[in-house]
C-alpha cells in the first residue's frame, strides 16, 4: 500500500519509531565506532601502564639478582587471563624470570628495542626496568592477546543492540499510546463524515475533542452539516410547494383544455351549421333573384315602349340591384364552398399563380395601368385552387384600392421572420384606419363605402378561412392614405 494511503495511526507510529530509532542507531553507532577507533590506543595504554607497574616492582629483583622474587612478581599476571606471557631480562639481555599463561607460549630469547606493537594477533611490548632515572637494570617483556578489547567491543556492541531493541520497543509502545492523541479526533471526524454521507443523515454531529486545529475543523464541519440540514429542509419545502403549484396549474390547464376543446367543438359545429345555412340560403335566394332579373329583362325588352324613360331607368336599377345581390350570393357560396371543399396539399408556385392572376386582371382592364411587382420563386405547401383564391382576392384588392393613386403599385413578396416564412402583399392605395383592423376579416364588413370602392365584404373573410385551413395566420397593417400590407403564413 502506498505510504500516503496508510492509516493515520500507522503513519504517526512509524514516524515516531523512525525518529527515535534513527537517533538511537546514530548514538550507538557513534559510541561503538569511537570504541573501535580507540581500542588499539586503549590496549597500548593499558599494557604500558601495567608494564610500568611491573617494572617498578621488579627493580630490586633485577638489581640483586633475585630471580625467585622476580618470578613471583611476574606470576601476579595470572590473575589476568589475557596476559599471554611475560619475561624479565637482566642487564646483559639474559632471560631472568618468565611467566607463561600457556606453557607453549614463546618468549623472545633477547629483548628488542623498547616499544609496543601488534604482532600476530597479540600486543607485545618491551619496557625498561630502572629505579627512578638511574641506570637501566634490565628489560620487561609483556605479551597480551587482544581478546580483552575484542570482548569489550563485542560486549558494548551487544549492549548497544540490546539497548537499541529495548528502546525501540519502548518507543513503539509510547508511540502507539500517544499517537491516539492526534489520530483519535481525526478518526472520529472521518467516521462521522462517512456516516453522514452513507446514511444521508445530516442531523449527526462530530464530537469535539480539544481546542486545537482539529477542534476548529470539527466545529467548521459541524457548522457545514447544520447548514446543509437547513438547506435540505428549505429545498424540500420548495419542492413541496412547487409540486402543489404544478398540480394546480395542471388542473387549470386541463380545465382550459377542456373548455377549449368544447369551444372548438362548438365552433366546428357552428361553422358547419353556418356553411350549411349559407349554402342552402344562397341556393334558395338564387331562385327568386333569377326570376327578378329574368322578368325585369323581359319587361325591358318587350315593354320598352310602354315603360317610358323613368320606367326603364327604374327597371335598370332593379336589374343592377339584383345582379349585385347575385354576386353577393355567389361570394357567399364561394365562402361556403371553401369551407367544404377537399383539401389537397402539394407544392405550389405562388409566384407563377400571382403572375397569371395579374395578367388576367390586366387583360380585363387594359386601360388601367398598375405596377405589379412579384418576387419570383415564391413557393409554399398547400391546396393550389384555394391558394389561387387567396392571391386573387388579395391582388385584386390591392389593384382595387390603388384606383385613386397616381402611381399605383402592388407588391407580392416574402420575408423570413423568426424562422418562418411570411408572405406579404403591399399596396400604396387608400389604406384603412388600424382602429378597425378587427373588422377587416369579418363577413360583410366593409371599411369603405360602395361609392368609394365596390365590393361585397366577403373576400377577406374567405381568404382568412382558407389561410386557417392551411394552419396559417393572416394579419394586416395600414395607415389611412398610406397603403396597406397584408401578411400571411402557411
Amino acid at each position: 500500500m502506498a505510504l500516503r494511503d496508510w492509516p493515520i495511526k500507522r503513519k504517526l507510529t512509524a514516524l515516531l519509531l523512525l525518529t527515535s530509532g534513527l537517533v538511537l542507531l546514530l548514538t550507538s553507532a557513534a559510541f561503538v565506532t569511537y570504541q573501535v577507533v580507540t581500542f588499539r590506543q586503549t590496549m597500548r595504554d593499558n599494557l604500558s601502564t601495567r608494564a610500568r607497574l611491573l617494572a617498578a616492582n621488579s627493580t630490586a629483583s633485577l638489581a640483586f639478582a633475585n630471580d625467585a622474587d622476580a618470578t613471583e612478581v611476574l606470576s601476579a599476571l595470572k590473575s589476568d587471563p589475557h596476559m599471554v606471557a611475560a619475561a624479565l631480562y637482566d642487564q646483559n639481555g639474559h632471560v631472568f624470570a618468565t611467566y607463561r599463561a600457556d606453557p607453549a607460549a614463546d618468549i623472545p630469547a633477547t629483548p628488542q628495542p623498547d616499544g609496543y606493537r601488534f604482532e600476530r594477533g597479540r600486543l607485545i611490548g618491551f619496557a625498561p626496568v630502572a629505579q627512578q632515572e638511574n641506570a637501566r637494570l634490565g628489560t620487561l617483556y609483556l605479551a597480551s592477546d587482544t581478546e580483552a578489547v575484542s570482548d569489550a567491543l563485542r560486549l558494548s556492541g551487544i549492549i548497544a543492540l540490546a539497548v537499541l531493541a529495548i528502546a525501540l520497543l519502548a518507543a513503539y509502545a509510547l508511540a502507539a499510546a500517544l499517537q491516539g492523541r492526534i489520530s483519535a479526533p481525526v478518526l472520529v471526524l472521518a467516521q462521522t463524515a462517512a456516516a453522514v454521507s452513507e446514511h444521508q443523515d445530516y442531523s449527526v454531529r462530530a464530537p469535539k475533542l480539544g481546542d486545537d486545529e482539529l477542534g476548529k475543523l470539527t466545529d467548521a464541519f459541524n457548522q457545514m452539516l447544520g447548514r446543509i440540514e437547513e438547506q435540505k429542509q428549505e429545498l424540500q419545502q420548495y419542492a413541496t410547494e412547487l409540486e402543489q403549484r404544478v398540480a394546480e396549474r395542471t388542473r387549470e390547464l386541463e380545465q382550459s383544455n377542456e373548455a377549449l376543446r368544447r369551444n372548438a367543438a362548438e365552433l366546428a359545429a357552428s361553422n358547419d351549421e353556418l356553411d350549411a345555412f349559407a349554402y342552402s340560403v344562397s341556393h334558395d335566394l338564387r331562385a327568386p333573384l333569377r326570376s327578378i332579373d329574368g322578368f325585369s329583362q323581359v319587361l325591358l325588352e318587350d315593354f320598352a315602349a310602354q315603360l317610358g324613360d323613368a320606367g326603364r331607368d327604374s327597371l335598370q336599377r332593379v336589374r343592377a340591384a339584383s345582379q349585385r345581390m347575385a354576386t353577393l350570393i355567389d361570394d357567399l357560396l364561394k365562402l361556403a364552398r371553401v369551407a367544404r371543399a377537399e383539401f389537397r396539399i402539394e407544392r405550389v408556385d405562388l409566384s407563377t399563380l400571382a403572375r397569371e392572376i395579374v395578367s388576367d386582371i390586366q387583360r380585363a382592364t387594359p386601360d388601367r395601368h398598375v405596377d405589379f411587382a412579384i418576387t419570383p420563386g415564391l413557393e409554399a405547401q398547400g391546396d393550389s385552387r384555394l391558394l389561387r383564391v387567396v392571391l386573387d382576392n388579395l391582388l385584386r384588392n390591392g389593384w382595387k384600392y390603388t384606383g385613386r393613386q397616381l402611381a399605383p403599385r402592388v407588391e407580392f413578396t416574402a420575408e423570413d421572420k423568426n424562422g418562418g416564412r411570411v408572405f406579404l402583399i403591399r399596396d400604396n392605395g387608400a389604406g384603412f384606419d388600424m382602429q378597425y383592423v378587427d373588422k377587416l376579416f369579418g363577413v360583410f364588413q366593409r371599411l369603405h363605402s360602395a361609392a368609394e370602392f365596390e365590393g361585397t365584404g366577403v373576400g377577406l373573410a374567405t381568404v382568412r378561412r382558407i389561410i386557417s385551413r392551411h394552419g396559417g395566420r393572416i394579419w394586416a397593417e395600414s395607415a389611412v392614405d398610406q397603403g396597406a400590407t397584408f401578411y400571411f403564413t402557411l
Binding site: N57, T59, A60, S61, A63, F64, A65, N66, D69, N92, G93, H94, T110, Q131, Q132, E133, N134, A135, L137
Partner: protein, 175 residues
C-alpha cells in the same frame, strides 16, 4: 650486534673464575645499593657531592667496581671509590664494604662506625647479627642479601622496601 655482545659477555663470565664473577656481581650490588638506600640529609650538604663507596681492607674487586661506577650518577651525584686500610681513615663516606681480611675486627669496626650514617656491607658470616647492615650470603651460586634493618634505622638510613623484599631481614643477637 646485541647478540654478539651478549655471547662475548657470557664467554667472559665463563672464562673468569667463579670468584671473580662473584665479585663482579657483588660490585654491581654495591652500585645498586645506592638506588635503594636513602642517606639522611645532613650527609648531603651539596646535592652534587659525590656518593662515596669505600672499601675497607683488601680490595677484592680490582678495577671492576671502578668500571661499574664510572660515568654513573645517582640523581646529580657522581660516584667515587675510595680504599681504606683502617677504619680511622674513613672520613666522608656513604657506603663501606668491609673486606674478608678484616673479619676478625668486625665488632670494633662496627663500634667505631656507630652513629655514623654509613651503610655497612660485608661478606662475613654473622655480619648482620653482629650489627652490620647488609650481609652478602652465598647460596647455591646466588648472592643473597641479609639485612639488619634496625642497624640501618639507628643511623637514619632508609632502606627501600623493594630491597627488603628481596632480602632476608635479621634481628641482631640480643646481648
Amino acid at each position: 650486534m646485541a647478540f654478539l655482545i651478549t655471547v662475548l659477555a657470557s664467554a667472559q663470565l665463563l672464562v673468569q673464575t667463579p670468584r671473580a664473577s662473584e665479585h663482579h656481581v657483588k660490585a654491581v650490588f654495591l652500585f645498586n645499593f645506592a638506588q635503594f638506600v636513602e642517606w639522611p640529609a645532613a650527609n648531603t650538604q651539596d646535592m652534587r657531592a659525590p656518593l662515596i663507596i669505600g672499601i675497607l681492607g683488601d680490595d677484592p674487586f680490582g678495577s671492576i667496581l671502578d668500571e661499574i661506577v664510572r660515568g654513573e650518577r645517582i640523581g646529580a651525584r657522581p660516584f667515587e671509590v675510595r680504599r681504606y686500610r683502617q677504619v680511622a681513615d674513613i672520613e666522608a663516606c656513604n657506603l663501606v664494604f668491609i673486606s674478608r681480611s678484616e673479619v676478625a675486627r668486625i665488632p670494633q669496626i662496627l663500634e667505631a662506625l656507630r652513629n655514623r650514617p654509613i651503610l655497612t656491607v660485608s661478606e662475613g658470616n654473622d655480619f648482620a647479627k653482629q650489627g652490620g647492615m647488609i650481609q652478602f650470603v652465598n647460596d647455591k651460586n646466588r648472592i643473597r642479601l641479609r639485612v639488619n634493618l634496625e642497624a640501618a634505622q639507628a643511623v637514619n638510613l632508609t632502606i627501600s622496601s623493594k630491597l627488603l623484599r628481596v632480602a632476608e631481614i635479621v634481628r641482631p643477637a640480643r646481648r
